[in-house]
Structures are given as C-alpha cells and as structure tokens.
C-alpha cells in the first residue's frame, strides 16, 4: 500500500507474515516490510522517533549501533517473565531525508498480541498515525485452578516436604531444591529428582502419580 502526503511519502508495505500454525505449540510470528520514506529530515530525528515509538510499546529501547534500534517485551509482563515480543527499527540516510523500516517478532501463543499488531502500532507512533491499544497479558489464575500448577503443594506422605510452583514453570522445595513443571490438560510432568508423570484432579487440588501425591494449599 502506498500513501502519499504533502510532507511525507510513506511507502508502507504492511506485510504481516503469519508463520505460525494454530496447532503448533509455539512459534515465532514475523511482521516485516513497513517502510516510510521521509523526504526531509535528519537521522537524529529518525533515531529520536524510533526510541519513542519502541518505548511506547516495549521495554528498554536500545540503540545497538548508529541508526539501529531494538526493544523487547511485552511492556506489561504479568506473571510471565520471559521475552515474548521484540521489534527493531532501522534508519537509513536517503537523499535529503531518511528511510525508516520496522520489523516485529512475537512468540505465539505466549504473547497476547501478534507481530502485525505490534508493528502497526510502533510504526504509527513513529509517524503520528492511529494506534490501537495492545492487549495486555491476562494474569495467570491462582488458587485451585486446573489451568496451571501455581501455588504451594504439600506432600501427602511427608509433612516436611512441600513444593512451591511459580508462573515461570519453576518449582522449589522446602530445602530450596529446584525443578520444573509442565501442565498439558490434566497431565503434568514434574521434574524433581527425575521426571514424573502425574495427574491433576478435576478440582485442581490434588496431584498424583509416579508414587507421589501432593495437595495444593488453596
């Protein structure tokens, strides 16, 4: 799509390439191709606007080299500390102005919005276009939910042994030994002195299997 304006020739090729499958467990989603040609302006102007645009939607916009910018996110990471989104902005001198390009990456399905939405907002922030608020991560449910294993679990056979499982998939026992958890449906894999296949009860309160039995405090 090519948009002509009096002071701005914007060649915005908004090519959102969804490289993911709805059934894939996780994938990188790419948006690239948004490009503006600014007929008059300096690279300093481009760099300043790039930082502002990235900081509006991601964290810690950083200039990796002259005229190259990167930021990661999402901006709000409720209970999900991993990076699941990033964007880059490149500025190039061109005639009496500059060219600026945008590329975005998000990890699906772990990010609350896709790469196209992110790049549209970042590029529109740059050129003053309309922006749509990005979806923020939904806080993970806690308590006796069947959606995850977050919480404190008491070993039914050893009152001195309990496991704290957190939103990042890590678990820590009462002696600070660490492991991890994964839940798929009601089937859990607990890595704690080996891998253990366990089953979560329908009320989300009991975890049993591989000779272990735990009850969640909730």
């Amino acid at each position: 799509m090519v948009v002509r304006r009096r002071n701005l020739f914007a060649a915005a090729l908004g090519i959102a390439i969804l490289l993911t499958s709805a059934f894939a467990p996780a994938a990188v989603d790419l948006s690239t191709g948004i490009r503006y040609v600014i007929p008059t302006g300096s690279l300093d102007e481009c760099n300043a606007k790039a930082k502002t645009a990235l900081d509006a939607y991601l964290q810690s916009a950083t200039q990796t080299s002259p005229n190259d910018w990167i930021a990661t996110g999402p901006l709000v990471q409720v209970g999900r500390p991993d990076t699941t989104a990033s964007a880059t902005v490149h500025c190039y001198a061109y005639q009496n102005g500059y060219v600026v390009t945008f590329s975005c990456f998000v990890e699906t399905p772990n990010n609350p919005y896709d790469a196209s939405a992110l790049c549209t907002d970042v590029s529109h922030n740059f050129n003053g276009g309309p922006q749509t608020a990005l979806t923020t991560p939904t806080p993970m449910p806690t308590g006796c939910t069947t959606a995850n294993l977050i919480g404190t679990w008491q070993n039914d056979n050893d009152n001195k042994n309990s496991l704290k499982m957190d939103a990042s998939g890590e678990l820590t026992d009462s002696d600070d030994v660490i492991g991890s958890w994964i839940l798929d449906g009601n089937k859990a894999v607990i890595t704690y002195y080996g891998n253990h296949n366990m089953t979560l009860s329908a009320d989300g309160k009991h975890l049993s299997g591989s000779g272990y039995s735990f009850t969640r405090k909730c």
Partner: protein, 137 residues
C-alpha cells in the same frame, strides 16, 4: 572412605543432571547484526546476495514485496517457525546499505539470534566473494 566420597560426588552430579534437565520455558531472542555500506554496487546486487545468503543459511528466502530489497527466511522446528532472519537492502550513495536482523525462539533453536545473524552475514559476504571473485565486501 575414598570410595564413599567418589560415590557421593557421583550422586551429586547425577542429581544436578536430573535437575538441570528440567524443561525450560521458551523465550524470544532478537539481535541486530552489523550493518554495512557497499559503495559502487547496484541495489540488485544486494538483493541477489541476500537471496543467496538466506537460502544458504535458512534454506529459503522470500522478498517481502517484489523489488523491496527486504528479504527474510525462516527455519521451522516441528512445523513451527523457530528461527527467522531478515536482510534489508537500501540504496545509499552510488551503492547500498545492508542490515541484518535475527530472532530465534530458545529453545528449540540451538543458536542465539546473534549467532544466527553472524552466519547470515558470513553467507552474505561469501556470496559477495563468489559473485565478484574478490576478497569480499
């Protein structure tokens, strides 16, 4: 006594191995590679080398819009893209500027984004050498 210590150390190593083998949650790693300016070469030269470099490293290359000079390639793991590299070409002076951007999901990607970009940059340089017979760009 020595046997007991060795056994204890072995058990400790085994325990560490079990715990370290814990499945890690995936994270997105993104990097920008070193940008270069190539004087005295046409824009089409950059596109051709971008195509060849991505095809070499990623086994595929697509231009995001015909003639845009914005090329990308993706590597999939289990049917889902886990590594993406972008090569951007822009006219500059009597030549062109080229930049590299990479993003990987770790795990499953064995490479960091920076390492992937290093491979693509090297392949772009090799494409230059192959094309010109010179010492690179």
């Amino acid at each position: 006594m020595i046997w007991l210590r060795v056994t204890g150390i072995a058990a400790a190593f085994a325990l560490c191995a079990l715990l370290v083998s814990a499945p890690a949650s995936a994270t997105l790693d993104t990097a920008i590679g070193q940008r270069s300016v190539v004087p005295g070469k046409p824009f089409s030269d950059c596109s051709a080398k971008a195509d060849r470099a991505l095809t070499t490293v990623m086994q595929n290359a697509t231009e995001a819009g015909p003639g845009s000079g914005n090329w990308f390639g993706a590597v999939s793991t289990g049917g889902a893209p886990s590594e993406i590299a972008i090569v951007e070409c822009h006219p500059q002076g009597d030549g062109y500027a080229v930049s590299f951007t990479c993003s990987v999901q770790v795990p499953p990607s064995p490479d960091t984004a920076a390492a992937l970009c290093t491979k693509v940059i090297a392949a772009f340089g090799a494409a230059s050498t192959a094309a010109t017979g010179g010492a690179g760009w």
